[in-house]
């Protein structure tokens, strides 16, 4: 019987009551007394030299309080980059400045030029239209390869080129990889694009800056996945506000998907301006603004080659990738195509030699940074596509080819620096073959053919590195932050617990799943546990939510703090029962003395801690509150196998997903329902990338897909009912819960399955097609078939 509470149970998400009844409290719901509104005048040109900004007329407009330009930010810091990559020659990346408001040049459509603060939003916008800007248009650099050619216009005049870095990994292996390719019996080559995506969380970004002159304290309310990180970056690097004078609150956040990790100009602006005008300043992005100011994701152009020996063993892999950084370095941008991508190129396979080259390029486009999966989808996509292509070329079964090359012994040190602690790739593949009913595919294909449809089957595996990450390791790799997590567990006198966690929840369900862990540890009801997050004045410290790290890192910190609580509570219990601490057992919310019938309840002990009449005051302090910081020893390595079945309408090129099955290994699972939901959402986004989504710039740097009229988001009707299984569980060996993380898996594992399936469908009609670039829109599929 499934459990009804604690670890492994699936209670309904308690936060959904407020989300589904419209009683959530989002940043845009925050309205402060005397608040003013800001409208950003943004560049409609991709690249240009600012000759002058005349705000005189605009300042006379009704309601205008003050107009800011780049000049107001001289001497104030720019937006910092949180990760420094070292190139293959040992040199640090080129790191351009990123002013809050443009200084000297505009570098992408959407770059903020001026900010009008007014009594109302409409007045601010009216006045922005009256600002006269004299911008001399410069040639825009859009295509990455063209950007690296001699004579290309420079996005940043103070850099030597548009190359951010040329990264080689592992540089020492390069010669051995070349040699293995010389000796290979077969080499498969594939060139592909990992399409640029726009995250489009349902809630656009919002920032409200506030300043209290009496206390000289600043507060920022913002749509962020990591308020403490924003406090650190904005306080220390941009505005020079010490952390004790700066509070950052990220209340309910309506979806992040990575794009709300980063520190944005609008946050710094609102905080800065609030102090300048001594009034709260609010900014709410319109959807149109979101398209040209939220960091985009992916955008890689890759050539991948796989070498195999005569027995079809993978002997070496090499890749050449161009990764678009956009016009500025967003907070974690440099890490995505390198450490979150190169380290995953071994995938689930024992390929002994891997060499990854990545050229990161500046272009006159919106900055690109982490988006659900961040680097790992890019790695998985190219690897799983090239393996499928190799299977085609060799005429072997794609599943058999994968199985033959699976890593089977753990721990396994890959040739790309990471060590997988656990996994069982045959088990997930076995499970997939079962749940996807692969045996029944031939009959389903025949049935589709009777309706004039081409049916295809695509399968793939994935591995990801989650639970980001050991601080000492990422420090060596260039991270300018630690990646631990903290939790404070406060027990009240009457036994209830409040957990203050640095893991922000913006849809992941922490408010439900985290209490399940504590309920299990103490043996009490989940309703006795409350989760607090998203406010730097309440939570001691936090590195935030991304990289599927909340449970593995934030949850582990919570476990550690709870262990401290239990240890102290046992001391109190021992005192109350006049027993030895070593004999105290905690079960079902009762402390008992081993081998006796003596017991005291959890609530008796918590009460004693706060009403310490009968209490070992000479040994321990009253009260019951503990804090723990947890820094993981390694990444976690969720893995799985996915299968997609599509139908293609050969007359139109339209692809429909008929079946999608996912067999994942997430290690131990706290709440299976939430995990299923995370996988569903991830696959939905992966299908979106594979079939629908794509940010497209024209050669002048205008974003053609700048609204929902042209940027296709997946809808319910675009996805099938999924078959999801997470019964294969190889627990993580190095965190206390044995958990691995499930937030990104779906988005990482699904695009190659979809593309593999479409290629398979088209080949069933005799088309000699080995690849089509995403999104596989009807027009592209039709063109490929008729090309």
């Amino acid at each position: 019987m499934p459990k009804d509470h604690g670890i492994g149970a699936s209670p309904k998400r308690r936060e959904d009551l407020r989300f589904l009844t419209g009683s959530g409290r989002y940043t845009d719901d925050i309205n402060l007394r005397g608040q003013a509104y800001v409208h950003f005048l943004r560049s409609d040109m991709a690249h240009g030299k600012i000759n002058g900004i005349n705000t005189r007329m605009a300042e006379e407009m009704p309601g205008v309080i003050r107009i800011f330009t780049g000049a107001d930010f001289e001497g104030i810091g720019g937006l910092p980059c949180g990760w420094q990559v070292t190139d293959k020659h040992g040199q640090p990346m080129q790191e351009p400045g990123h002013p809050v408001l443009a200084q000297g040049k505009v570098r992408h459509v959407g770059d903020p030029i001026a900010a009008v603060v007014a009594e109302s939003r409409e007045q601010a916008r009216d006045a922005a239209e009256a600002i006269e800007v004299d911008i001399e248009e410069l040639p825009a650099v859009i295509d990455m390869k063209a950007a690296l050619e001699d004579g290309a216009a420079l996005v940043h005049d103070d850099l030597t080129s548009n190359l951010c870095y040329d990264w080689g990994f592992v540089e020492e292996n390069k010669a051995a990889v070349e040699e293995a390719f010389q000796k290979a019996a077969h080499v498969t080559t594939l060139e592909l694009v990992n399409n640029r995506l726009i995250a489009n969380p349902m809630e656009p970004r919002v920032a409200v800056g506030d300043y209290d002159r009496a206390d000289d304290e600043s507060t920022l309310y913002t749509t962020s996945q990591n308020p403490h990180v924003i406090r650190l970056l904005m306080g220390a690097f941009v505005l020079g506000i010490p952390e004790h004078k700066l509070r950052v609150v990220a209340p309910d956040v309506g979806g992040g998907f990575g794009t709300k990790i980063f520190h944005y100009a609008e946050e710094a602006f609102c905080t800065f301006a609030a102090k300048q005008i001594n009034r709260p300043v609010k900014w709410t992005a319109s959807r149109s603004e979101a398209f040209i100011s939220d960091a985009h994701g992916r955008d890689h152009v890759t050539k991948i080659q796989l070498a195999l020996d005569a027995d079809n063993n993978f002997t070496a892999l090499r890749t050449d990738t161009y990764a678009n950084m956009g016009a500025y370095l967003s907070t974690f941008a440099p890490s995505v195509p390198t450490w979150l991508h190169g380290t995953l190129m071994a995938g689930n396979y024992k390929t002994p030699l891997v060499y990854v080259n990545v050229k990161a390029v500046f272009t006159n486009t919106v900055p690109v940074d982490a988006y659900r999966g961040a680097g790992r989808p890019e790695a998985t996509f190219q690897l799983e596509r090239v393996i499928d292509k190799a299977a085609l070329e060799l005429g072997v079964d794609p599943i058999a080819l994968r199985r033959q090359n699976f890593i089977t012994e753990f721990p396994y040190a890959t040739p790309v620096a990471v060590e997988y602690d656990t996994g069982d790739y045959h088990a997930t593949m076995d499970k997939l073959e079962e749940i996807a009913d692969l045996k029944g595919f031939a009959a389903r294909r025949a049935e589709s053919e009777t309706r004039g449809r081409l049916r295809g089957l695509g399968i793939n595996c994935y591995i990801e590195a989650c639970g980001i990450a050991p601080s000492n390791l990422v420090g060596q790799l260039g991270a300018r932050a630690g990646l631990y997590e903290s939790a404070t567990v406060r027990v009240n006198a009457t036994g209830g617990l409040v957990v203050m966690t640095g893991s922000h929840s913006h849809g992941q369900g922490h408010e439900t799943s985290f209490p399940q862990v504590i309920a299990e540890m103490i043996g009490i009801d989940e309703s006795m546990v409350e989760i607090v997050h998203g406010d730097t004045s309440k939570v001691p410290m936090g590195m935030g939510t991304y990289g599927s790290r909340s449970l593995a890192v934030g949850g582990s910190a919570m476990v550690r703090a709870t262990e401290k609580i239990i240890k102290k509570a046992k001391k109190i219990a021992a005192h109350l029962m006049e027993a030895s601490e070593a004999d105290i057992e905690l079960k079902d919310g009762q402390f008992s003395v081993a081998g006796t019938d003596k017991s005291v309840a959890w609530g008796d002990v918590t009460l004693a801690a706060y009403v310490p009449h009968n209490y070992p005051l000479d040994e321990i302090e009253p009260g019951l509150e503990e804090t723990a910081f947890y820094d993981p020893a390694n990444f976690t390595y969720p893995s799985g196998a996915y299968a997609c079945e599509v139908e293609v309408d050969p007359a139109t090129g339209k692809v429909t997903i008929e079946r999608f099955s996912a067999a994942d290994d997430f290690g131990n699972i706290i709440n299976p329902m939430i995990v299923t939901g995370q996988v569903h959402g991830g696959i939905g986004q992966g299908i979106g990338q594979a079939l629908l989504e794509g940010a497209v710039y024209d050669e002048n740097g205008q974003l053609l897909s700048a609204s929902y009229m042209d940027y296709a988001m997946p809808r319910a009707s675009d996805v099938p009912f999924y078959t999801v299984d997470h019964s294969c569980q190889t627990p993580c060996t190095h965190n206390p819960l044995g958990v691995k993380g499930c937030g990104e898996a779906g988005a990482i594992g699904s695009p190659p399955a979809v593309v593999n399936a479409v290629v398979d469908a088209l080949r069933s009609a005799g088309k000699d097609i080995t690849h089509i670039d995403m999104p596989l829109s009807p027009a592209r599929v039709w063109a490929a078939m008729n090309g």
Binding site: D126, T652, S705, M709, D710, A779
Partner: protein, 263 residues
């Protein structure tokens, strides 16, 4: 959005008078005009809502003619003509989403004449008559290119009259993002002959595919179209499909519409 005045007359006469004001503009369901105003791409000084005018609302059916008031929302049409003209009902019932269908009106759609909109295909294929505040315009004369119609300034579409065909079908191939028609083909068979109207495809807006009409009037079957081809010349090419792709889809969707008619 810029500031504007809002009036909601209850009679056609008052609406005509109100539209005489400087920079006045008619407002139907606002599903096109309001987003345009929010983007500050339109700035009427006065908005004259037509949805309070009873005589412009509703559907009447009689003598082989369906008359739809110019201010009738798509959702009402979808329900009202389901029995009398199923292809038209299906078209109306598949425009946008429920919010769009409950606000957007047939008059607004025809006045706007978006090159990817659905109603223009129905009106042209049905040989409908556009009834305005001062005349009646045959569909063949009404559509004059992308976003261009025979309407004069201040002229209101008060009703649209559709002769009911023997059989008809609308096949819409959706643009993946907007779900407007990437190519939509409306085929309607009348005793006098078959009419085929194509939306979404041409840079000239909705048009009649006359070769297909001729072939289908001789033999009403998908096979009759076999030898015909649409030239990509003048077709729209954008990030959702090339001119060649659209030209190809015109034939595919026409065949499917015919097949649906006889199937």
């Amino acid at each position: 959005m810029y500031e504007f005045e809002f009036v909601k007359p209850t009679t056609l006469a008052d609406a005509i008078a109100a539209l005489g004001a400087e920079e006045a503009q008619a407002l139907g369901g606002g599903q096109t005009l309001i987003p345009t105003m929010k983007q500050r791409l339109a700035a009427p000084a006065v908005l004259v809502s037509l949805t309070g005018i009873e005589e412009m609302k509703g559907v009447s059916i009689g003598d082989g003619i369906i008359t739809i008031g110019g201010a009738t929302p798509h959702a009402v049409v979808a329900e009202a003509v389901a029995g009398a003209y199923p292809a038209l009902a299906a078209l109306a019932g598949n425009i946008g989403d429920p919010a769009v269908r409950n606000r957007g009106t047939i008059g607004g759609s025809l006045a706007n004449n978006d090159p990817s909109a659905c109603y223009p295909a129905a009106a042209l294929a049905s040989g409908a008559t556009v009834v305005t505040s001062n005349r009646e315009i045959a569909a063949d004369d009404y559509f004059q290119g992308m976003f261009t119609t025979a309407l004069e300034d201040g002229e209101i579409v008060t009703a649209v009259r559709f002769p009911v065909p023997e059989v008809a079908s609308y096949r819409k191939f959706e643009q993946p993002a907007s779900r407007f028609a990437l190519v939509g083909v409306f085929v309607a068979k009348y005793p006098e002959g078959v009419r085929v109207a194509v939306t979404g495809a041409s840079e000239e807006g909705v048009f009649r595919w006359t070769e297909a009409e001729a072939a289908l009037s001789v033999e009403f079957s998908p096979d009759a179209l076999e030898g015909l081809n649409v030239s990509p010349e003048g077709m729209i090419g954008d990030l959702h499909g090339t001119a060649e792709y659209r030209a190809h889809l015109v034939k595919v969707m026409t065949k499917r519409a015919v097949a649906a008619c006889i199937g």
